[in-house]
Each structure stands twice: as structure tokens, then as C-alpha cells.
Amino acid sequence: MNRLAVTLPGLKLKNPIMPASGCFGFGQHYAEFYDLNRLGAIIVKAATLKPRIGNPTPRVAETTSGMLNAIGLQNPGVTAIMTEKLPWLAEHYPDLPVIANVAGSTESDYVEVCRQISTAVNVHAIELNISCPNVAHGGLEFGTDPQSAYALTKACKAVSQVPVYVKLSPNVTDIRVIARAVEAAGADGFTLINTLVGMQIDLKTRQPLLGNRTGGLSGPAIKPVAVRLINQVHQISQLPIIGMGGVMTAEDTLELMMAGASAVAVGTANFDNPQACPDIINALPSVMDHYHIADLPSLINEMAVTAV
């Protein structure tokens, strides 16, 4: 038996590790470093209905043990993604489950992208990004207001051919309110956390360094916030969670799973180390031995019991 295999709605994964959306594009260039079939799955860059050129540069800044990004959802639009990007993955990695990250400005945008992208052969699930802090209408309104989150999730669920995971924002007073709304609307799972809103000031210009002024904070700096929010959602819902936020190592992966995640996405770590995902996957068995974890499903079950 494969100790690392985990199963979530729509996703039979040989291991729980997947690159996080926006930190791995569609994987082409990372495929020069390693065989993407090593991954449990891949969450691809956000798709919007129309192409988007994104925010002005600079789009990234380094912070202590973290980074800010304000890419602004640059992407070629759902049509190009479905005719170029996803087929490339399907051709080269037919067995690699893809989770499509969907973003938009209006409910109808989201719905249309979900309708289309969920028909792609290799898209096994959708990650509804209602928490992008980096564009004026990037969904964060949906992610901070329970009514909108409910309506959007319900509408997207209705048209999607695959399970829908909703990506929650940490930038809220009480994440449980949003989680409950999303669950009530029929979501199949959660992914969390998206980035925290942050800013860096350029001392030379005395102005915000990022072109967009603010950006999303990610990386190990935010891991304690991720662990807490994952745990908080896990305590009030039985839905599976794909956890993310600052994961760099196999230990971090287990920490998020002990908090309540059933699988784990790796974002910023890819920039620090392009082979972060396979390195984590390789390290998992011995780290699991060290902490007496026979296999991941039993860990997930144990945590599900203790959460109640």
C-alpha cells in the first residue's frame, strides 16, 4: 500500500502534495527540473473569462521569511487556457490530476469559466478563488461576505462537471462564517489560506514598492495563521481541506494535516527551491516514521475524530 495516497472529492492522489495556484503556472518550466508525475496533483494559475494583463510592476517584494505579490491575475483567459495550457499538461502528463483555479469580477464570469473549464479532460476539480486580494474586483468581496460567497458557490456548483473547492481568505474577522456559507451552498471542500494583505514601502521613494500598493503575503511567515485557520474550519465542518500557507518541508506538511488538512499545496517554496515539491514528497516517509505515522489516511482519520 502507498502510505502517501489520499483521496478527496474528485481527487485520487498518490501523495498529498501539489503546487499552489499562481506559484507554478501550468508547470511547463518546472518540468525542466523534474518529472511532474511525481506530484499528487497540480493547481494551475487562475483562469478568468477574458485575458488579463495583470498589475503594474514591481509585482513582487521580498519580506522577512515571506514575500508579497500583486500579480493581478495575469492570464490568457479561459479559452487560451483550454486550447493551449491544459492540453499541454494532458498530453505530457495524462495521469496528473489538475485543479483549475477560477477567478473573476462578477458572478457570471465565475460561472462561465467554471462551466467551460470543468469540461477539460484533465481537470478533476475546481478551486474557486474568492479571495484574491490583488485586483479591485478579484473576488475578495465574495470571500468576505457570506451571502455573496453562498450565492457564488451555489451558482458555480450548478454548472461544474467536477467537485468545487472554495478558496478562503484569511483577511476576515471570522472565517467560520464564510466557511459555513460555502458549505451550505454545496461546496465539496475548502482550500486555505490565500494570502494576507500586506504592504512594503520603498524607503527611497517613500511610496509603496509594489505597483499595486498592496500585495498578498505568503511564505513561512504566515504558516502559523494558516495552521490556525485550517484548524478553525476543520472544527466546524466535515468537508475536506486542501491546506496551504508557508509549507516548505515534510514537517510543515504534517503540521497542516494535523491541523485538519487532507492534502497540502506548496506555493512560495517553489521560488525558494524549484524542487520543493519532490523534495517534500521524498522526505515524507522518513519524517512520518519519525513521528510514528503509518499512513496519511490514518492520520487524517485520527485528526477528524479529535476535531469533533
Partner: protein
């Protein structure tokens, strides 16, 4: 494209804030194109983003490559502390370098550089000289004490310096030097790397030149073309974005909005 722990062979301080770092590893035997760069992990765990540096020199026989960098912030300051024997996690060679295939022996290239833009130009100049191309350099610095690699460039061809304060060579910025001394010179190729002002000047002056190239800098995250951090819009169409790390860092003049 490789990820490799390169070994520090030596580190040498050239000016108050410029260092020469010689690294050894397989990456140096893959013969990068001049203008390509490496992305170096700073050996302190609170720095997550790699630092991009142009490759200044390659000695494939010794499997060594050389970087020249200026200490501007925390990452380069930390880098300047590493000593021989340290292993530096590096990815590269990255990006697209300077096109040179079209040049014939005996043709003439102009290389325009400023400050820490000169490292990839040194690699380029060596490559061109090896191809038998004649090379003229126009190099700008703030003031004389900041100049490094003067001897190295002089060995490859004529070098014209411009300093902002007139302490060495031409008095004024490099655009004025070009106006004063190269206004009607004809070159078979023009290459530039340096501060934004220099690149804009070159981009304007040589927009119609069939073989004029500029190398850009941009803040990067992935360094390999997957995160869209480092983009620059096309000059002709601001809705078309090029990635400096992957489509660049070298672009033909007129191609991108600098």
C-alpha cells in the same frame, strides 16, 4: 536549466561595493550564452527569493563561472560574506542571451554598459572577440572610484568611459557620450545593459537598428517563467506582456516598453 550547489572558489572585492564571485560546478560546463543569468539562493533562511545575476565569465575547462555584483541590499550584503568552500544553491543558466550568430569575423559591435550592467557584457565581449568581431565599449559610471574591470575590457577592444562627475573619461552620462563620439559611427551590432535611463537612451537611439539589443532587469519570483512577476509590456501593444526572466532578459530595441 539546472539546479545545483555551486562551490565558491573565491570572492574578491573590486570596489567599495562591487564583488567578484567565482563559482564551480557542472552549470559552468553547459556553456551559457552571454546575457543569460543565474538565480542564487541567499544563504540565510529568512530570504526566500533568489537573486538574479548576469553571468560575467565562463571557463568551461575549469567548470567555473564568475559573477560581478554590487551590494545594494540585505541579500547581496549576505552574499558578500560567503567564503571559499561555501556551497551556493543556484539555478541557471536562465533566460535568453544576446544574439550574436549573425555577426561575421571582422564586423564591428558596440557594447554600451553602465554600472553593474556590465557583467553580462564582459561575457559578451569575450565571446565576440573569440568570434573575430571587433568590439568597442562605451561604459558609464558615477565616478572614477566605481569603475571595475577596466583592464579586462581594455584587453578586448577600445573602451570609452563616461563619468557623471567627470572624474574619469567623458564628463556626463552615457547618452551624451554616445551623442558626442558615436553619433555617426556605424556598427553591425549594438548591445546594452545598465540602468533604466541608459536602456531608454539606447532603445530610442537604435530603435531602427536591425541588430540592437538591450538587457533588462525586473523583480522576479520564480525566475523561470511561471509566476508573471517580471513582466514588461510590448512597446507596440501594452496588453502584450513579455517575461524578462524567460522571454528576456535580452530584447531587441523597440520590442518592449522600458
Amino acid at each position: 536549466m539546472l539546479q545545483e550547489n555551486l562551490t565558491v572558489v573565491s570572492q574578491r572585492q573590486l570596489t567599495a561595493d562591487v564583488f567578484e564571485l567565482t563559482l564551480q560546478g557542472k552549470m559552468a560546463t553547459t556553456d551559457p550564452v552571454a546575457g543569460q543569468f543565474v538565480d542564487v539562493k541567499i544563504p540565510d533562511s529568512s530570504h526566500l527569493l533568489r537573486r538574479p545575476f548576469g553571468i560575467a565569465q565562463v571557463d568551461a575547462a575549469k567548470s567555473q563561472l564568475r559573477l560581478l555584483y554590487r551590494t545594494v541590499g540585505q541579500g547581496t550584503a549576505a552574499l558578500s560574506q560567503v567564503t571559499a568552500g561555501t556551497r551556493l544553491d543556484t539555478i541557471g543558466p536562465l533566460g535568453h542571451g544576446f544574439p550574436t550568430d549573425f555577426l561575421q569575423a571582422g564586423q564591428h559591435a558596440l557594447i554600451i554598459g553602465g554600472g553593474t550592467g556590465i557583467p553580462p557584457l564582459y561575457a559578451l565581449s569575450r565571446q565576440l572577440v573569440a568570434q573575430g568581431v571587433e568590439v568597442t565599449h562605451a561604459i558609464g559610471f558615477g565616478r572614477q572610484q566605481q569603475i571595475f574591470y577596466e583592464q579586462e575590457f581594455r584587453e578586448l577592444g577600445a573602451v570609452h568611459y563616461a563619468t557623471d562627475d567627470g572624474s574619469y573619461g567623458f564628463h556626463g552620462h552615457i547618452g551624451l557620450l554616445l551623442d558626442a563620439q558615436f553619433a555617426d559611427a556605424e556598427f553591425d551590432a549594438v548591445y546594452a545593459c545598465g540602468p533604466r535611463g541608459l536602456l531608454m537612451a539606447v532603445n530610442n537611439r537604435y530603435r531602427e537598428h536591425p541588430h540592437a539589443y538591450v538587457s533588462l532587469e525586473s523583480r522576479m519570483a520564480c525566475g523561470v517563467g511561471e509566476c508573471y512577476a517580471c513582466v514588461v509590456p510590448a512597446q507596440a501593444d501594452p496588453t502584450k506582456m513579455y517575461k524578462v526572466c524567460d522571454d528576456g532578459p535580452v530584447f531587441a530595441t523597440g520590442e518592449v516598453a522600458i
